[in-house]
Amino acid sequence: MDDLGPAPGIRPRPSLWRRLDAIARASFPLTCTVLLMLLANAPFGIPGQAALLPAIAVISVYFWSLFRPPAMPPLAVFLLGLLLDLLGWLPLGTGPFCLLAVLAFCQRWRRGLANQGFLLVWLVFAGFAAGAATVIWGFASLLTLRLMPAGPAAFQAVLTAALYPVLAIPFSQAQRSLANPERA
């Protein structure tokens, strides 16, 4: 299993600072995701900026649940989904469903996927991006009882897939250094 905890053995009780450091490192992925999501809504005035928010949420959940599953517990993913709904003015429930689906697939395919090279992981992520855009489009259409135009969904899928390296490269650096609880 993934969460067997530290190797058995007797070691001194960690000091307060050490424990705070470990907590900060363990919560880095979630904090980072929330901050990026808030930042995505800031008034940059970029055309198509609205698609940035779901893209960041999907990329974060995918990356961290593949490479550091304890950092993305299901309850936190659910809450991230709610934040996505509220910030992105999506019909309530869309975000939690979409992100939990990403999490569920990542948990199932983690064994095979986490050891693959960057390009293959990105390629699989493109599928996830298309799926997430379709789910959001479907929910938006179903819950407002009106067929939404497909253009924004396609744009969101492409933007999400294209943005993956932009976030995943700093994330994987952070995963080895900043967000690694073992280095506390």
């Binding site: 008034p43 900026q49 609205a50 509220l86 309530l92 429930g93 939690p96 938006a140 939404m148 924004p152």
Partner: protein, 285 residues
């Protein structure tokens, strides 16, 4: 903390996801049953974030202006020539407008016209997009003691932007005229034909249900005062025919780059704007 045996913990871990999926569906149902809950949650989150975004808007706007200034440097010469030509044309129109205004004043004096009070408005900064992927709306940062109410009209630069739909203590949300849910009764100024302006979520809303002849290319579109939903004669844009003979309207306000909007107090407008040709003029005109 309760200590559980490993199999129980594993079973619980396996159950978390299905339970959370079920809760998600519960949230979907909650959003359907009581839309107010969602709206209230969104606007209170927006209330908390609006001051932060308003603080960011200054420096970000400066950066954006700097970048666009650099881009403008390249086209400075051409733009100067264009502006000189436009200025000459506008000077001509200004003299025409002044003459017409004088004539209008004289005629009103003859008719014992009851002057219409000019409507009051407040100006608010646009701090964020509030539409997401499938809606067109903007978030305004407003002071804590504002008088903005849902249903008021938002104007920017040359024309109508939309109307206020949600109001919090520090933020207000304006649904743009390009949103899929926007329906506005309009009047084609040249032919006095009535029509409905329908948002499509695209950049240009389209005209449907016109009563008389088809709208002409380039015709000015203004709000119609029917049913008191909108104050009459606010400029919206001009008619443009897209491919497939769809009558669209090019909005006079630059809806993609909104920075400040004027919120018109419709109390004054509803009381006084009936028949006034230019209800909302910028200050100093």
């Amino acid at each position: 903390m309760i200590r559980l045996s490993v199999p129980v913990r594993q079973a619980l871990a396996r159950l978390t996801l299905p339970v959370l999926f079920a809760v998600s569906f519960g949230v979907v149902l909650l959003g359907r049953v009581d839309a107010l809950v969602a709206d209230r949650a969104r606007i209170s989150l927006a209330d908390a974030l609006a001051p932060i975004y308003a603080g960011l808007a200054g420096p970000l706007g400066a950066v954006r202006a700097g970048v666009s200034n650099l881009a403008d440097l390249a086209s400075l010469g051409a733009e100067n020539a264009h502006l000189r030509a436009a200025n000459a044309r506008l000077m001509h129109w200004q003299s025409v407008a002044l003459a017409l205004a004088a004539e209008n004043r004289a005629l009103k004096a003859q008719l014992h016209w009851i002057p219409t009070p000019s409507p009051s408005f407040v100006t608010a900064r646009v701090v964020a997009d509030a539409g997401g992927v499938y809606a067109k709306a903007v978030l305004l940062s407003v002071g804590p003691n504002h008088f903005i109410r849902a249903g008021q009209i938002a104007l920017a630069g040359g024309g109508l932007v939309g109307r206020v739909v949600d109001v919090g203590s520090r933020a207000a949300r304006v649904l743009l005229i390009t949103d899929l849910n926007s329906r506005i009764p309009v009047l084609l100024e040249g032919s006095r034909t009535r029509a409905i302006l329908v948002g499509t979520n695209g950049p240009l809303p389209k005209l449907i249900y016109w009563s008389g002849g088809a709208p002409r290319e380039g015709e000015r579109v203004v709000t119609a005062g029917e049913a008191g939903a909108f104050p009459p004669d606010l400029p919206i844009g001009t008619v443009h025919y897209a491919a497939g003979h769809v009558a669209e309207v090019v909005p006079a306000a630059d809806l993609d780059r909104l920075e400040v909007v004027r919120i018109v107090d419709d109390g004054t407008v509803a009381a006084g704007a009936a028949g006034s040709a230019t209800p909302v003029l910028p200050p100093g005109v």
